[in-house]
């Protein structure tokens, strides 16, 4: 059976809590970033660029069978890992599921607190872009 959004979030929290040290957590994020599906160069457009990040992040989406699928890229690998983490949770969910989600699992893994202020702002921008895309598809 397909996993629920709650189950997937639990999995992310679990895999993050396996690492005690933040350096190891970053190593995990770097791996996620490296393994993210490739993103077409021609989609690296100004309108797909997320504003408010110090490194460049592009986020694209498509809707199939009532579900939203995200793809993304960044020129910085840790940022790419972070967006990959978000995509792994929210890609393949319905607009209603995403729009009504509280995005609290980010706080549970302590990610935002451990980013530099500019990165934390970038994370906030990524989340609000995902929310906006969901709202537009309601």
């Amino acid at each position: 059976m397909e996993k629920t959004l709650a189950e997937i979030k639990e999995e992310v929290i679990d895999s993050f809590s396996m690492y005690d040290e933040w350096l190891d957590k970053y190593e995990y994020l770097i791996e996620l970033g490296k393994n993210l599906d490739s993103y077409p160069e021609e989609e690296k457009t100004e309108e797909k660029l997320i504003k408010g990040c110090q490194s460049r992040v592009w986020l694209d989406s498509k809707v199939e069978d009532g579900k939203i699928y995200f793809s993304a890229d960044s020129d910085a690998i840790i940022t790419k890992g972070i967006i990959s983490l978000l995509i792994s949770v929210y890609s393949g969910r319905t607009a209603a599921e995403i729009a009504s989600d509280d995005f609290k699992f980010i706080e549970n893994i302590g990610l935002k607190e451990n980013l530099s202020p500019t990165r934390a702002n970038g994370l906030v921008s990524m989340i609000s872009t995902i929310k906006r895309i969901a709202q537009e598809n309601l």
Binding site: E21, W22, L23, Y26, S55, I77, I78, T79, L115, S116
Partner: protein, 407 residues
């Protein structure tokens, strides 16, 4: 004084971050502060907090003495002719804006030109763009070569009879190369053009004898040279400052105020409008004292060996490109901006941080330089005389580990 003794002056250097010993390599952004600066700031706040100059009570008297005696110390430090030439500001940016505004009011007209170097911090570009736009004047650029070395001899050809000022940094905050500022002054003066020197980095690593250099203006901050934040200086030759109108109105800068017209105070108060940062400015006294101690032969030799080690380690690594390559007579300070092939500067800074190493990543307030070298940003490690060889070795080890994590 050796490096162990030097470190004892700076309480924060014993800190740990993420359980690891702090390695502070972001000194070009702000240096750490010695206990003496911190204590004076605290003491003035606790025991002598009063607005300076006007009041007749005891607290105000001590506060005024502390503030005005600092002017004498700075005057001596720079070897200025007169204390009238020392104006306190909130920092380098404030200092340059003061000159840009007031100098332009007096001397810059439509069709005139200001020359800035390509290696300037935004704070020595944007104020000139603003005043030039207001006056219908233009900004011209003194170029650097691919090594980051200032093409100083091209300055003579750039100067025209419409050139009103040359603004140039003593040491770039990105390249770390020591500019031949005396030569810049010599060329500009031979054509009758005054020179403003941005000393934000230079004052820390070299200091400046303003009479020997003969520059017309010299701007620097306190927080990069061991004083409290929110402090700065603009040195200006009296002949210029006398002819320039005030930058801001109000507070200390007046002589008499009538609705029919106001007259201004004499120098230096003419340029010190409003309430000055009187608790913090006196920390320049401690900062300059520590600066002198850190410039001992023993420590300078040691710092040079740390610098050589880092430069060798970084420059022999094929993955690394250093910006600002010392050559010929051009010296480099222990400030290394570089990029690593295939690795984002921000990722490196973030991983290094988790290893306890504080560096800076990004454009470093010098976008024209980033464009010049075709990069979106760089990683910068900048050292102070209290940094050790062990820290430098740990930095190289950490950098290698970070690169292998990220590649």
């Amino acid at each position: 004084m050796n490096v162990t003794e030097a470190r004892k002056l700076f309480p924060i250097l014993d800190s740990k971050v993420y359980g690891k010993d702090l390695v502070y390599f972001d000194n070009a952004a702000t240096s750490q502060r010695p206990a003496s600066s911190i204590e004076r700031l605290t003491r003035l706040s606790l025991e002598h907090n009063a607005n300076i100059h006007r009041a007749v009570h005891a607290l105000a008297s001590t506060a005024t003495d502390e503030y005005e005696s600092t002017r004498d110390v700075v005057k001596e430090f720079l070897n200025a002719r007169s204390r009238k030439e020392i104006i306190f500001t909130s920092g380098t940016t404030n200092s340059i804006n003061l000159v840009a505004y007031s100098f332009a009011e007096a001397f810059i007209k439509e069709g005139d030109e200001v020359i800035v170097s390509e290696a300037e911090h935004h704070s020595n570009i944007v104020p000139w763009q603003i005043v030039c736009q207001r006056k219908g004047a233009s900004v011209k650029v003194l170029r650097i070569d691919d090594n980051g070395v200032l093409d100083v001899e091209s300055l003579a050809g750039l100067i025209t009879d419409r050139t009103r000022l040359v603004a140039c940094t003593q040491i770039s905050n990105v390249l770390g190369l020591v500019n031949p500022i005396e030569r810049v002054v010599e060329i500009a003066h031979s054509k009758g053009v005054p020179v403003l020197v941005d000393g934000a980095q230079g004052v820390v690593h070299q200091g400046l004898d303003v009479q020997k250099c003969d520059c017309d203006f010299y701007a620097f901050s306190g927080h990069k040279m061991y004083a409290a934040t929110g402090t700065g200086v603009i040195y200006g030759k009296e002949k210029w400052l006398e002819q320039m109108p005030p930058f801001m109105g109000g507070g200390e800068m007046i002589e008499t105020v009538r609705f029919s017209g106001t007259t201004y105070a004499e120098l230096p108060e003419k340029f010190e409008a409003g309430t000055q940062n009187f608790n913090a400015i006196p920390t320049f006294k401690d900062a300059i004292q520590v600066w002198k101690e850190l410039n001992s032969k023993e420590l300078t030799d040691y710092a040079d060996s740390v610098k050589e080690y880092l430069y060798d380690a970084l420059s022999k690594d094929d993955r690394i490109r250093i910006y600002g390559v010392p050559c010929g007579t051009v010296q480099k300070i222990p400030l290394f901006s570089f990029t690593v092939e295939g690795v984002h500067h921000e990722d490196l800074a973030l991983i290094l941080d988790k290893m306890g190493v504080a560096t800076r990543s990004g454009q470093m307030c010098a976008e024209p330089l980033m464009d010049r070298f075709g990069v979106t940003g760089m990683l910068r490690a900048s050292l102070a005389p209290y940094n050790t060889m062990e820290e430098a070795e740990y930095f190289i080890k950490s950098l290698n580990r970070a690169i292998s994590m990220l590649k």
